[in-house]
């Protein structure tokens, strides 16, 4: 019972692994850019603003492609 509740709570954040990994990769890249001071927060902002919608589009198209194959 508790296990299934914990599993469902984790499921609130991770449903599709590719989307979750993609989001964390974009956020991690933005954080790394800021920490290494390569361009600073402005470059990190660009990474977030371009990367996050891009990962959403890529994930939906990938899901569509997978579904048409099956």
């Amino acid at each position: 019972m508790i296990g299934s509740i914990i599993k469902e709570i984790l499921g609130l954040f991770v449903d599709d692994e590719i989307l979750a990994i993609g989001i964390l990769a974009i956020v991690g890249l933005a954080a790394a850019i800021t920490l290494m001071q390569r361009g600073g927060p402005t470059v990190a902002a660009l990474v977030l603003v371009i990367g996050l919608p891009a990962i959403l589009v890529a994930d939906v198209l990938l899901t569509l492609r997978r579904s048409t194959r099956t």
Binding site: L12, L19, A20, I23, P41, L48, V49, L64, S67
Partner: protein
């Protein structure tokens, strides 16, 4: 500026909570119609008690975390949560996954409890109570997360709580009058709108946590919401004909 932040926090929490409370209400109603109000009420109260403990334990911890770290972590969680909702709403709009149907969910839960009734009638109140408890706890956890996510980083916890509470009161009032699942609520459209708003908050906060000075400050949340809305809408518009052909 304050009005924009206030209104965005209230409306995001209201819409998010509306979807979750409708889902929890459907299950609690199924329990109460199959086994009576007692297990439904006990399960619901136990769920609220568990949520209250969670808030009491975790609430003060939020105050100990440095603001920037809090914004970054909550922003990242919000992106995972919001983009997941947005993706699901897009896939439902283009017909790749089935729409969430409160009427069907209600029938499924009622059937589940009726089957259990035939098997173990003596322990059914316990099972029914647990079903109500789990529904309130899980959907309530989502509401608590949404409230924290849209309110914690900018001192808008109370307005966000007010938004969520209004949604709960509205659903319970309409549900009490209708006494049936609230299947008329356009759940996918709401999930799409909430996904857009939560993703916008997430993007804003991750940036704030990294020290980004967004142009227009809090107003940029509306810009990000417009961006996610445009991207989601464009995806639905572009993909729907293709998915209809393949269906």
């Amino acid at each position: 500026m304050i009005t924009t932040t206030f209104m965005t926090a209230v409306s995001a929490a209201f819409l998010g909570a509306l979807v979750e409370v409708v889902e929890a209400f459907t299950i609690v109603l199924a329990v109460s119609l199959v086994r009576g109000w007692r297990p439904a009420l006990l399960g619901t109260l136990a769920g609220f008690a568990a949520l209250a403990i969670m808030i009491v334990v975790l609430g003060p911890v939020l105050g100990l975390i440095p603001l920037r770290a809090l914004q970054f972590v909550v922003g990242a969680l919000l992106l995972l949560f919001g983009l997941r909702w947005l993706r699901k709403a897009i896939l439902r709009s283009i017909g790749l996954i089935a729409l969430h149907d409160e009427e069907a969910a209600f029938v499924a839960h009622t059937r589940e409890l009726s089957v259990a009734e035939q098997r173990r009638s003596d322990s059914l109140d316990w099972i029914a109570g647990l079903a109500a408890f789990k529904a309130v706890l899980l959907e309530g956890t989502e509401v608590v997360f949404i409230v924290i996510a849209v309110g914690a980083g900018n001192g808008m916890l109370w307005p966000a709580s007010l938004g969520a509470l209004s949604a709960a009161v509205l659903v319970l009032a309409v549900g009490a009058l209708a006494h049936k699942p609230l299947s008329q609520v356009p759940e996918n459209a709401l999930k799409f709108a909430v996904g857009v708003m939560l993703s916008a908050f997430g993007l804003f906060w991750v940036g704030e946590g990294l020290g980004v000075n967004w142009p227009g400050e809090d107003l940029s949340i509306l810009g990000f919401a417009s961006m996610f809305l445009a991207v989601g809408g464009a995806l639905i518009f572009a993909v729907r004909p293709r998915s209809a052909e393949t269906a």
